[in-house]
């Protein structure tokens, strides 16, 4: 479905409405920033990372937990939303009407729509083998159409290297903000290391995990030859129950690994299948879910 489709635009409006109503009831006139800054209001603890200000270490917590943690305070600042949209070929695989890339773009569109509607700065950075021409960070609801047109024109092809793309993104020295990584995380590169780099540079990664329904639940069937959409590697496999079960176990381990990482780092991790609507995963985040 095109991002400019009226039905999708209507859906975006509903999401923004839901998010705005939430935001509107939680604070009078002000938007609670999603960024932790230096203010009097204590927000939470998080583990100490190399590069953090050692003055923020909460020694009382260390005495209790014997673990270095720092204090986070609520900061009333502008939000910079950076969307790292995975446009590698793996997202182009579709077993249903919508491909993973379609879903990923919709998520990016929804986040950008809500943010631009709230006068936040939004930038979209398509990642693949390397960082492609981005949608430069901008603000204002008048930029929504441009964003949607930009996202609609993107295609999924080529290989993917999230870690390299994150490094490239950070090389631009963007102002700290929210970095929504929308990907299928089937990249063999060390994207966890990339997320750690984002955290170290005071960004807050948001993980939106898009999976194809067939990838999630492969069916027992005939002997097939699987072709990697990015590398072209070929694997001959007999889709018997044993092999499918082993794949599910392998996938579950992979998903558990991502989920555990996100939980440990206090990051948002949302998973969506291609046959599901994006509403739930986007709204869950916007409503402060983890």
């Amino acid at each position: 479905m095109s991002l400019l489709d009226p039905a999708f635009l209507k859906q975006l409006g509903r999401i923004r409405l839901a998010a705005r109503r939430r935001f509107a009831s939680s604070a009078a006139g002000n938007r609670r920033s999603l960024r932790h800054g230096s203010s009097a209001e204590f927000a939470e603890h998080r583990p100490y990372f190399e590069g953090d200000d050692v003055r923020r270490i909460d020694w009382n917590a260390f005495a209790r937990l014997e673990e270095f943690v720092i204090r986070l305070f609520v900061a009333e600042t502008d939000i910079n939303l950076y969307v790292l949209l995975d446009r590698s070929a793996s997202l182009g695989v579709a077993s249903a009407a919508r491909s993973k890339f379609d879903v990923a773009r919709q998520i990016a569109a929804a986040l950008g729509y809500v943010a631009l509607s709230g006068s936040e700065r939004v930038g979209v950075f398509p990642v693949g083998e390397e960082l492609a021409a981005p949608f430069a960070p901008t603000r204002g609801h008048k930029r929504i159409a441009s964003l949607l047109r930009y996202l609609d024109a993107l295609t999924a092809d080529g290989g993917g290297d999230l870690r390299s793309s994150i490094e490239t993104f950070l090389a631009r020295q963007p102002r700290p903000g929210l970095v929504a990584i929308v990907s299928d995380f089937l990249d063999a590169s060390d994207f966890i290391g990339g997320c750690d780099r984002l955290l170290a540079t005071k960004h807050e990664p948001l993980l939106f995990h898009v999976l194809d329904h067939e990838e999630m639940f492969p069916q027992v069937g005939e002997d097939v030859t699987l072709v990697d959409s990015e590398t072209g590697d070929v694997v001959e496999v007999t889709l018997d129950a044993t092999t499918v079960a082993a794949y599910r176990a392998s996938l579950d381990r992979h998903l558990e690994e991502i989920s555990a990482y996100a939980k440990k780092r206090g990051l948002y991790y949302g998973r969506i299948l291609t046959h599901e609507s994006i509403d739930e995963v986007v709204l869950r985040y916007l409503r402060g879910g983890r």
Partner: protein, 632 residues
């Protein structure tokens, strides 16, 4: 193991299409996925736990290929070696040569082993198996042909015995193979032999042939492999014997002895064996009468006859040979013409005597010897009351009857009107211009007229059980016949006939098992007394009787009831290849020389078991194909 229907193995050709279909069917669907690294990790995990998982894609192919192989194998009807399937025919060839009479340490002969083995074979064969039995004797003899009656078959098997010197094994196998070619699949030829021959025989390539060697053991054997006797010149009864003897062990204490009427008359120590285990010996025997037999035997130093594996070659029987010259005894005043025509014949020895001397046994020794040697008697004027054995001539008899033949009154100058030129006595004889002064015609039905005149029979033939007499009813010197060429021819024919009769009534010598042929009037009974005392009766047909003699060494006495003629037949085993009992022959078959010990054949085709295995494989394949997680 044999395959009764090997052409069915062509079903294995289905393996090609199966593999091709499998390859085509297994052309995998190509699917593009986001990433294969999770699948690769999954496959590694699975193979780490279950290494045989690699084979899972091929299990169906293997099961189906196995099913095809089992099916083709079952259709080819595998069977144990020597098996006779139901409906098949069996042709048994039995070597009945002399060496099959050899006995092992337990006294069982090879032919007996063959009988037992054949009986065993039949017990293992299905009921109603068509059975052909061929004796490989001097010539192939089909004893039974496609017989199914078990009693008749059993009887024929029991009747198997050694028959002859040398066996026609190759020809017999060819006859048997010809029978089997027309029979159903699984039919076969089984050959029982001791391989006691020096040859390589090629077995038919298109027929199943089993060969069973019945020579379970090879014992010591010595045998007389050749012998002949010859008269010493100028000594009527002295003979020399030349013999060749085989011994498998080249012994140092072996003797060849010669006996006449049970008395040892000569012996020779056997030594100087050659590379073929044969030696030669010469014996001199001073006295061996015309009708006496010489028995040769092998004995040890103690004079005890040898006992070894084969008895048939331990003795030999010989008879004294005839002298080259035919003795003719002239009794009475022989006409000068007759005396002249006989004396000029170099192959005749003339002796003269009188009837009175013969009656009183007063003839000199030479006459006696001549008589013993089967002389032809020429009586002139007076003849004895009964004719002598063999051929005789009576010229111008003076008695009223001769040998019971009546002589008529004298007739002057009879005219010859006819003669039997078909009779061998009158061959090339013409009496057209012959004149006779006086004759006394022969009358009576006992005489066969040879020459007829206007007055009656001038020359007649009187045949009697002991021989025949030619009667001239006139004085030859008082006729024109001696002046004619036909006279010489006539007497030459008479002497030739005499030799013929002499030879016929002598002892016949032939190899062991040779058929005996006896000339006898139609319907007459011939009685043969075998060396072991058993008696064989036969009836003459078309002037002869052909008698199959048992394989015995020695003299067979032959008598015909019609004429009380007595003769003798000698049979010996003179065959070095039969005395050598080692299995030497080779029967080359389709694959290799078949040679098996006599053993029971286990019945049962294998196809039921193979078919059961096929069903089991099909069940496994079905279970595999319908298992959980199997391909759709």
């Amino acid at each position: 193991m044999t395959l009764l229907s090997p052409a069915s193995l062509l079903w294995l050709g289905l393996l090609g299409p199966l593999v091709a279909l499998y390859i085509l069917r297994r052309r995998r669907e190509r699917r593009t996925v986001g990433s294969t690294w999770l699948w690769q990790r999954a496959i590694r995990d699975v193979r780490a736990e279950r290494p045989w998982q690699r084979l899972i894609p091929y299990v169906s192919l293997l099961l189906q290929a196995l099913a095809i192989c089992l099916g083709a194998f079952a259709l080819s009807r595998p069977a144990g070696q020597g098996l006779i399937p139901r409906g098949a025919s069996l042709a048994v060839v039995v070597d009945v040569s002399a060496s099959m009479a050899a006995r092992d340490g337990e006294g069982v002969s090879r032919i007996e082993y063959a009988r037992r083995a054949i009986a065993e074979l039949l017990r293992a064969a299905p009921e109603r198996t068509a059975f052909t039995l061929i004796e490989a004797g001097h010539e192939p003899t089909a004893v039974l042909s496609d017989a199914t009656d078990s009693a008749a078959i059993a009887s024929a098997i029991q009747a198997l015995e050694v028959r002859s010197v040398d066996g026609s094994l190759e020809a017999s196998v060819a006859v048997a193979a010809d029978r089997i070619r027309r029979a159903s699949s699984g039919s076969r030829v089984v050959v029982f032999t001791d391989l006691g021959f020096d040859a390589e025989i090629a077995l038919p390539a298109d027929v199943l042939v089993d060969v069973q060697n019945v020579a379970t053991s090879v014992r010591l054997n010595r045998g007389i492999v050749d012998a002949e006797v010859s008269r010493v010149a100028r000594t009527p009864n002295r003979v020399e014997v030349f013999a060749r003897v085989f011994a498998s062990d080249t012994p140092s204490s072996l003797w060849l002895t010669a006996s006449v009427d049970g008395h040892v008359v000569a012996s020779s120590h056997l030594e100087n064996w050659d590379a073929t285990n044969i030696t030669e010996a010469t014996l001199s025997v001073d006295e061996l009468g015309r009708d006496q037999l010489l028995q040769l035997q092998l004995s040890g130093d103690d004079g005890i006859l040898v006992e070894d594996a084969l008895d048939l070659d331990n003795e030999a029987w010989l008879s004294a040979p005839e002298a080259r010259a035919l003795p003719v005894v002239l009794v009475g005043e022989t006409p000068r013409s007759v005396h002249r025509v006989l004396s000029v014949d170099a192959d005749l020895e003339l002796y003269e005597t009188t009837l009175a001397q013969l009656d009183s046994h007063g003839s000199d020794s030479s006459v006696v010897a001549a008589i013993d040697a089967g002389a032809v008697f020429v009586y002139t004027g007076e003849a004895p009351d009964s004719p002598p054995p063999g051929a005789s001539i009576v010229i111008n008899p003076t008695q009223l009857s001769v040998f019971g033949v009546t002589m008529g009154a004298a007739v002057e100058q009879p005219r010859i009107v006819s003669w039997d030129d078909t009779d061998m006595r009158l061959r090339y004889v013409s009496l057209r211009d012959t004149s006779v002064r006086t004759m006394r015609p022969i009358t009576g039905h006992a005489v066969r007229p040879l020459v007829e005149t206007t007055a009656g029979t001038l020359i007649g033939l009187f045949e009697h059980p002991a021989g025949e007499s030619t009667v001239f009813a006139f004085d030859l010197d008082r006729s024109s016949l001696p002046d004619e060429t036909s006279f010489v021819v006539l007497f030459r024919n008479l002497m030739e006939r005499a030799r013929e009769l002499r030879a016929r009534h002598r002892t016949e010598v032939a190899p062991l098992g040779s058929e005996l042929t006896v000339d006898a009037p139609e319907g007459s009974t011939i009685v043969v007394t075998c060396p072991d005392g058993s008696v064989i009766h036969a009836t003459a047909s078309a002037g002869q009787a052909h008698i199959r003699l048992r394989a015995q060494i020695g003299a067979f006495d032959i008598a015909t009831t019609a004429h009380e003629v007595h003769r003798r037949a000698l049979r010996n085993l003179f065959a070095a290849n039969e005395s050598d009992l080692r299995p030497r022959g080779r029967l080359v078959g389709r694959d290799s020389q078949p040679s098996a010990s006599v053993s029971r054949q286990t019945p049962g085709e294998w196809w039921p078991w193979v078919a059961f295995a096929l069903l089991a494989v099909l069940v496994c394949e079905s279970l595999w194909a319908t298992r959980r997680g199997a391909s759709a």
